[in-house]
């Protein structure tokens, strides 16, 4: 039952991303690490109800997980720096976006 439910969730997410075109194909990149970086660049981070930026989650099967981390290990410091830079930019963008979102609420001073 759980397996069926999970499959349904992934299928729904897949349909939705295919529809929006927000898809990164690993085969279009030199390595899994490069695909990961492209993926990171393609998404927006969210902000939870407590104002904390929520980082994206990665869901992988065991084989893909091993390959991904092996690919990370092959990368040097430069890759890590790139990831950190994208992350920082995304967090900043998320917080700015959150400010804009919150500004759409009328504050009590607006009355």
């Amino acid at each position: 039952m759980r397996k069926q439910f999970m499959r349904m969730i992934y299928e729904t997410i897949n349909e939705s991303t295919e529809k929006s075109g927000n898809v990164v194909n690993a085969q279009d990149h030199k390595s899994e690490a490069a695909a990961f970086l492209a993926m990171l660049q393609n998404i927006e981070f969210g902000v939870d109800e407590y104002g904390n930026v929520s980082l994206p989650e990665i869901h992988l099967g065991k084989l893909a997980f091993d390959r991904m981390f092996a690919s990370f290990a092959e990368q040097g410091v430069e890759f890590e720096q790139k990831v950190e830079k994208v992350k920082k930019e995304k967090i900043k963008a998320a917080l700015e976006q959150e400010k804009i979102r919150l500004s759409k609420f009328m504050s009590s001073g607006d009355v």
Partner: protein, 632 residues
């Protein structure tokens, strides 16, 4: 003719301990003459019998002839006037040769009578007993002849009217029993029972007789369970539609063998429900038992209609004296809600549903009067009798429930174009009383409040109480803000409600996530109603407090299923505050799109569908009659 009457009047008693009477035979003669000789009830003249001071063997022989010889008896009415007595918890009708020390052999026990009725498969039985108390033993006929004691007789339609006096002579007036005198007044039209149908049902006659006899110190038993619709005990001399007449022996239901068999198989469940109904009306159990039986006959909708009419006729008086005055309207509303699937299929279904809707409105009006009087006597009457703790959760629900039924009845009266059925002044007075005395408890606590709030708030223009609804909306909204948009899910159990309350008081609701309404419909309703009342200036500045709250509006694919426990098909319109909705206007825009979708459902053009769907939302408060909201 399968309608048979047996009248027994016993003045003469042969054995010690049972003194002679002087009015019992007169009573038997007068009712027999009226119903049989003078055609007051279309009873079979050849098979009906009048027994004056008979022996027990004559009584047994007569009953045997009536019930077991010749064509099966469909309707059997027994009238008995004489002494009644109790022995070992069994009620006996005393006959001329009855002996106190051997009642089981020489008197007619009710247990024996019911066994015969069951064995003979009599479809409709009416029992009338006007008995004088015997032997100086005080007994309570109400207790002994109530359905809990008599239990399931196997009869699908049984009505009992029984009165007994503790003083054997005082209750005879001018040589007639007080109960029989009142009964005869009803049959002759001196007392009005009703004027709308050509026939009288013993239950409705019993109600008038009881009211009259109570004034003279007797407490009669009057109850009945009738699964065949309205029984036709006698012609109604006060019928306003022409000559009173018996239209048919019984409804179509009795002649349908398959339907009859199915009813007999389910009779136990209905009897249990009937017995339990006097302790408090349970909407969920009622719908669970009655709806499947009623809908079993959908190939012949008139059978379903007849069945549901019978249920309403017999359960109505049963719940009328319940502690909660809104039990009776809920009963009729349940019956109307069950008919939602059938209204559009058959004219008889629509007619019965309309009648049930009218009865719902009228009984809400009566409940309003009762409640207002109770509130004037004791302004805290709406508080729980047991513990104050439970009222922290249940009182806000109870208050909204009362207000919701008021609003619902006002709407239904408006849909049916019968505004005169309900006093708006009394309804308004209750609303204002609750605001005045219970304002601290008008708080948003559960999504269960939503359908009630929607029903009341949208009725404010008809009731001319916009200011009152503004106050209620304001109180609910601010308490919602205080709870940061978190209220309980609908229909929590008492234990879950306590857990929710404890978490709410502690300020940490994380442990009761499964008990929260996520998404909530109450917030959708509050925003939309406030929008419709130009209260955006009150709501918008606080919307930020609901940031990340999920709200929902559910619209069913068809209102035919709106009474079901789980509605399978429909559309959930879900929004997250702070994602697509930041203020009243944002949701109003979405609402106007949803509204157009709702308006496409042509079934809602029918006033009975509209009313029954509205009642469904009040009976099962996890769905809302959003169609009540106008375009904003």
């Amino acid at each position: 003719m399968k309608k048979i009457f047996l009248a027994i009047g016993c003045d003469i008693y042969d054995y010690p301990g049972l003194q002679a009477l002087n009015g019992a035979q007169n009573d038997a003669v007068s009712i027999y003459d009226h119903l049989v000789t003078n055609d007051g009830g279309d009873y079979d003249k050849e098979r009906s019998q009048l027994l004056l001071s008979p022996s027990i063997s004559e009584v047994q022989k007569s009953i045997e002839n009536i019930l077991f010889d010749g064509d099966p008896t469909v309707e059997f009415t027994l009238f008995f006037a004489g002494h009644g007595a109790v022995k070992d918890g069994v009620y006996f009708l005393c006959i001329k040769d009855s002996q106190i020390d051997r009642f089981s052999l020489t008197a007619l026990s009710m247990t024996q009578l019911f066994s015969w009725l069951s064995e003979a498969k009599v479809s409709q039985a009416n029992i009338i007993i006007d008995a004088c108390e015997s032997g100086g033993v005080l007994h309570d006929i109400v207790t002994l002849l109530n359905p809990n004691v008599i239990g399931k007789t196997g009869s699908l339609a049984l009505s009992i009217l029984a009165a007994s006096s503790s003083d054997e002579y005082a209750q005879e007036e001018n040589g007639k029993g007080v109960c029989t005198a009142a009964l005869m007044s009803c049959l002759r039209g001196e007392l009005i029972v009703q004027t709308t149908r050509p026939t009288l049902d013993l239950m409705e006659v019993g109600k008038i007789v009881s009211e009259n006899v109570r004034k003279k110190g007797q407490t009669p038993a009057c109850w009945g369970l009738n699964l065949y619709g309205t029984a036709q005990f006698a012609k109604n001399p006060r019928y306003s539609g022409g000559e009173p007449h018996i239209t048919e022996t019984l409804s179509a239901l009795t002649s349908d063998i398959v339907a009859n068999q199915y009813l007999r198989e389910n009779a136990d469940k209905i009897w249990e429900l009937y017995i339990a109904a006097a302790r408090g009306f349970d909407v969920d159990v009622f719908l669970q038992v009655i709806a499947p039986i009623c809908l079993r006959f959908t190939e012949n909708v008139s059978i379903s209609a007849s069945f549901i009419e019978g249920i309403a006729n017999t359960f109505g008086p049963r719940v009328r004296e319940n502690r909660d005055p809104y039990d009776e309207p809920q009963l009729y509303a349940c019956c109307a809600a069950i008919m939602l699937k059938l209204i559009e299929k058959d004219a008889s279904a629509d007619r019965i549903t309309r009648d049930l809707i009218v009865r719902t409105i009228e009984s809400v009006d009566k409940a309003n009067i009762t409640l207002l009087n109770q509130l004037k006597d004791d302004k805290y009457v709406l508080l729980s009798e047991s513990t104050g703790l439970s009222d922290l959760y249940f009182l806000p629900l109870r208050l909204l429930r009362v207000l919701g039924w008021i609003g619902g009845a006002v709407h239904a009266a408006n849909f049916m174009k019968m505004p005169e059925l309900l006093s708006k002044d009394i309804a308004k007075e209750i609303v204002q009383f609750i605001i005045r005395e219970y304002s601290q408890s008008i708080v948003a606590i559960s999504d269960e409040q939503t359908p009630y709030y929607v029903a009341l708030a949208t009725a404010c223009d008809i009731m001319d109480c916009k200011k009152d609804v503004e106050i209620i909306s304001g109180l609910l909204f601010y308490s919602f803000v205080e709870s940061k948009g978190r209220v309980a899910a609908s229909q929590l159990t008492g234990a879950d409600a306590l857990e929710f309350l404890e978490a709410k008081i502690s300020g940490d609701l994380s442990a009761v996530g499964d008990k929260l309404a996520r998404p909530t419909t109450l917030l959708s309703a509050l925003i939309l109603v406030c929008g419709s009342m130009d209260m955006s200036d009150v709501v918008d500045p606080s919307m930020k407090k609901f940031d990340h709250a999920d709200i929902n509006i559910f619209v069913p694919s068809t209102y035919a299923d709106f009474d079901e426990e789980i509605i399978e098909a429909g559309m959930n319109y879900s929004y997250r505050i702070g994602q697509s909705v930041w203020n009243v206007n944002d949701l109003v825009k979405e609402w106007n799109i949803i509204r157009k979708q709702i308006e496409l459902d042509s079934a809602l053009n029918c006033s009975s569908v509209r009313s029954a769907a509205l009642f469904s939302s009040l009976l099962r408060p996890n769905r809302e009659a959003w169609f009540l909201l106008s375009p904003i």
